[in-house]
């Protein structure tokens, strides 16, 4: 930590620009930091600082991989619902800095809701702490939440203090084939179940996202979590719901549920080499299907291919736009990007290796309070040392 602070402070004084990197799993969000002189990796700043099982709190260094935190906590029957792609590589700090929003947040809350405290290294090398290790804390401003989702542009997160949840006793995954004609009813049924599924995705395209099988038909993944008793009741309700919707075939698995969920989450940021761009659009669950279809139609009108991955419980729409090759995509993508943003100003890019990515409005419409945000950046990092250009509005 001291070493990192020293490096950052020195770079700031000498006018050197830094790209901050964790596991690099969400490098497809935003724009690459540039120009930069050095890349600072937090990977070596890893390890659990303190884990108080009985308090349901844990503090860890930013470079700790999500997977190792998950394993440690699971041994004690606990977890933190990050639900971020590639947890074996993703780091705690990087995931928080990117403000990743996972599929179980409608039930468990967002990662920012689990922040009890933080330690950051500011651009000038100062180490600043906020919060603490207690679950209720209103001493001063909620700085920890401010750093979440800031993409390392206000400070380098070096430690996060989190609260944990008790792991549900049981979990179960339902993998269904979803013919086009059954989808609307199925989605409506699933998202209005009394015992809410932890996660529910439907896809069109994204061939292997749901059950690892290649297929042209739509697919659905529903995850149920809870006690034995609750799971049985929820299973009955879900089966009836899918039956009513006319869904033909459902596979139910009690093993590998975590893997199924992770596969779907990884798909959110999966690229097709350099020939795809994936956008994410947030909205209400009640409107998600209609929006997804409208977007897909727009993609097709632009003579591109649309694949949809929709989070039915939160209303997130992921659309992967692709063409036969990078060149073909390149000729159309900027025009498409413009029309997409006319329809969905909030659409952001979450994954792309295409060389023209930097020409797209990757952050969507500039937020209303952008001036405030720029002023915050100027106050925290006046020399623009940290991740220049990575964030919204050119921050």
């Amino acid at each position: 930590m001291q070493e990192l602070a020293g490096i950052v402070g020195r770079c700031d004084r000498e006018g050197q620009k830094l790209a901050i990197q964790g596991g690099n799993t969400l490098a497809g969000m935003g724009l690459p930091a540039q120009p930069t002189d050095l890349t600072l990796s937090t990977a070596a700043l890893a390890g659990v600082v303190t884990y108080e099982r009985a308090d349901l709190t844990i503090a860890a260094h930013a470079g700790t991989r999500l997977r190792s935190i998950a394993i440690l906590l699971a041994q004690q029957g606990q977890f933190v619902p990050f639900d971020a792609p590639h947890p074996a590589e993703a780091t705690l700090g990087g995931t928080l800095a990117a403000g990743w929003l996972g599929p179980r947040r409608h039930l468990y809350g967002k990662p920012r809701d689990y922040m009890l405290g933080s330690t950051v290294v500011l651009a000038d090398g100062t180490i600043a702490r906020a919060g603490g290790m207690v679950v209720k804390n209103v001493a001063g401003y909620d700085m920890s939440r401010l750093y979440v989702g800031s993409f390392g542009t206000l400070g380098v997160l070096v430690q996060a203090n989190l609260k944990t949840l008790v792991l549900p006793r049981r979990s179960r995954a339902f993998l269904a084939r979803l013919p086009e004609r059954t989808r609307s009813r199925a989605v409506a049924q699933v998202s209005s179940l009394e015992i809410r599924p932890s996660a529910a995705f439907w896809v069109r395209g994204f061939a292997t996202a749901i059950d690892g099988e290649d297929g042209t038909e739509g697919r659905m993944l529903v995850v149920l979590e809870g006690s034995e008793a609750l799971l049985e009741r929820a299973t009955r309700d879900l089966r009836s719901a899918l039956g009513r919707a006319g869904v033909p075939e459902t596979r139910v698995v009690d093993a590998g549920v975590r893997e199924s969920l992770e596969r779907a989450i990884d798909a959110c940021v999966a690229t097709l080499g350099e020939r795809s761009v994936t956008y994410r659009i947030l909205g209400f669950p009640s409107q998600a299907e209609a929006r997804a279809l409208a977007i897909a139609e727009l993609v097709e009108r632009s003579e591109l291919r649309a694949e949809l991955l929709v989070d039915a419980m939160n209303g997130d729409v992921f659309v992967r736009v692709s063409d036969l090759d990078a060149l073909a995509l390149g000729a159309k993508i900027e025009g498409f990007d413009e029309s997409l943003h006319a329809l969905e100003p909030g659409a952001i890019v979450v994954a792309s290796r295409h060389p023209h990515r930097s020409n797209l409005a990757v952050w969507g419409a500039v937020p209303a309070a952008i001036d405030r945000m720029r002023a915050l950046k100027a106050r925290f990092d006046p020399n623009g040392t940290l991740n220049p250009g990575r964030f919204v509005g050119g921050i």
């Binding site: 108080e52 099982r53 009985a54 308090d55 349901l56 709190t57 029957g77 403000g99 809350g109 920012r112 809701d113 950051v120 100062t126 180490i127 600043a128 702490r129 906020a130 919060g131 603490g132 290790m133 207690v134 679950v135 209720k136 804390n137 209103v138 001493a139 001063g140 401003y141 909620d142 700085m143 939440r145 401010l146 979440v148 989702g149 800031s150 206000l154 949840l165 015992i195 809870g226 006690s227 008793a229 609750l230 947030l282 209400f284 669950p285 009640s286 909030g346 952001i348 952050w363 937020p367 209303a368 309070a369 952008i370 405030r372 945000m373 002023a375 915050l376 106050r379 925290f380 509005g393």
Partner: protein, 461 residues
């Protein structure tokens, strides 16, 4: 000049200038301060902007005010200025049940929102004990908690978007789903020092299918607090887990007759809300743990009426202490849950050492204690003793790895204690945020940050 300008902008009915009116706005539930220069009661964001512009031009600080139920002087005008009261901005603007949210003006009373949503099967989850009176705006300013925050989270978990008037009188919007810095999160809990909220989109929660409330009585505080630690340690996180000691239980039972066991030294009020399928197992697990820790009795509320009565008793606890003593002071601290027994012992020691009677009623499941220190404010020695006891308790909280405010806020009362939990660098980082939103320190000055700090970023004023 100020009065004239305000009246011109808002109309006579919306501005108070007579001393007897102003004095009402000089205090909150903690203390009183200077008389405000004027009190404005805006009807909408445009009015709020006008007030801010006028105040800024005339060099007057601004003190936003909800219902004035705050417990640390957050709404008190320490050096006068214009109090902006949201009493007239009390409408629920939109109830969007399909998308589980509501848009409200800051003066909407917390419980009123839940009542309105209740008919459709929803409620607003953050439930501070003041909820019959306190307003959403005030709740947002303090990031208010309450017993049900153990499972549902505090106010910040339920705010989706804010409309804010800034220190120049301009309006800006925040939205948690927008990319960019989480301005919503930094505004919630900022105690009126970063901007004035003029409307908010808040999350509504589905009313649970099933609710059970249980009462466990213990012969001593230690056993009760160890039972709490054991419950959480066993991975059982009920919807609410509250504790009251003998001092409080006697007062509450005398006031409310809810059926609290007055022979107990400590009582746990436990609620679990959720699906019926889980209730029996939860009850069995809780009963086992409390018995293992020496519970004298364990019973469940037999009807919604009884449940409501028990909760009314809990939420009315502070007021009920009026039977015991003319005045009381509420301390607010939060410690890790496993340190609860030690924290309670420390509270007891501090109180005994200074000859003060203390009653404990608090959110045990969160480790968020509220020792009520009894005194008579006419007795100077007692007042001094209470202040010292309060300080000693905070010091213990810090030593146990806790914090100096779990949910009431820093306000005016605890600003100097901030240096006991945060370093100059830590406070300076917060100061930078203040610099962006309120560089001239006009919005609720003298709150949160220590007075007379040497470092300019940290100065309160």
């Amino acid at each position: 000049m100020l009065h004239q300008r305000l009246i011109e902008a808002l109309g006579e009915d919306a501005v108070k200038t007579a001393p007897e009116d102003l004095s009402v706005y000089a205090f909150d539930a903690y203390t009183d301060g200077a008389l405000p220069s004027a009190v404005a009661l805006p009807a909408n964001a445009r009015d709020v902007s006008a007030v801010v512009r006028i105040a800024r031009e005339l060099g007057e600080p601004i003190v936003p005010r909800g219902a004035g139920t705050g417990l640390c002087g957050g709404a008190v005008p320490i050096e006068g200025g214009v109090v902006v009261s949201f009493a007239r901005m009390n409408r629920i603007l939109e109830l969007d049940l399909a998308n589980r949210r509501a848009r409200v003006q800051p003066g909407v009373v917390n419980l009123d929102l839940s009542h309105h949503a209740g008919a459709s099967g929803f409620f607003y989850a953050p439930d501070p004990s003041s909820q019959k009176t306190s307003t959403i705006g005030g709740n947002v300013a303090t990031n208010a908690g309450g017993p049900h925050c153990l499972s549902y989270g505090t106010t910040v978990n339920h705010v989706l978007a804010l409309e804010v008037v800034d220190e120049t009188g301009n309006v800006f919007q925040t939205n948690v789903d927008e990319p960019g810095y989480d301005l919503t999160a930094v505004l919630v809990g900022s105690e009126g020092t970063l901007g004035i909220v003029t409307s908010a989109w808040v999350r509504l929660t589905r009313l649970p299918e099933s609710v059970r409330v249980w009462l466990a009585a213990f012969g001593d505080v230690d056993s009760a607090s160890e039972a709490v630690s054991a419950i959480i340690g066993a991975g059982i996180v009920p919807t609410a887990l509250e504790m009251m000691d003998a001092v409080i239980v006697k007062a509450v039972e005398a006031a409310f007759h809810a059926g609290y066991p007055t022979e107990a030294s400590a009582v746990l009020l436990v609620e679990n809300a959720g699906f019926e399928d889980d209730m029996d197992a939860c009850e069995a697990a809780l009963a086992r743990i409390v018995r293992e820790h020496g519970a004298l009795s364990w019973r469940s509320a037999q009807s919604p009426a009884e449940r409501d009565a028990l909760w009314a008793g809990r939420k009315g606890a502070a007021g009920a202490t009026g039977r015991i003593s003319p005045n009381y002071y509420t301390q607010d601290l939060c410690v890790p849950r496993s340190k609860l027994p030690a924290a309670l012992r420390a509270v007891d020691e501090a109180a005994s050492a200074h000859g003060i009677v203390v009653g404990n009623v608090f959110h045990a499941g969160d480790g968020n204690l509220h020792p009520l220190l009894m005194y008579d404010k006419r007795d100077r020695a007692q007042v001094a003793a209470v202040v010292e006891t309060g300080n000693a308790i905070l010091q213990s909280a810090i030593e146990l790895g806790g914090t100096i405010s779990g949910e009431h806020g820093i306000g005016y009362e605890k600003r100097d204690a901030m240096t006991r939990v945060y370093s100059t660098a830590d406070l300076a980082a917060m100061g930078r945020v203040r610099d962006v939103f309120d560089p001239q320190r006009r919005l609720n000055p003298d709150k949160i940050f220590p007075a007379g700090a040497a470092c300019p970023e940290v100065r309160a004023r």
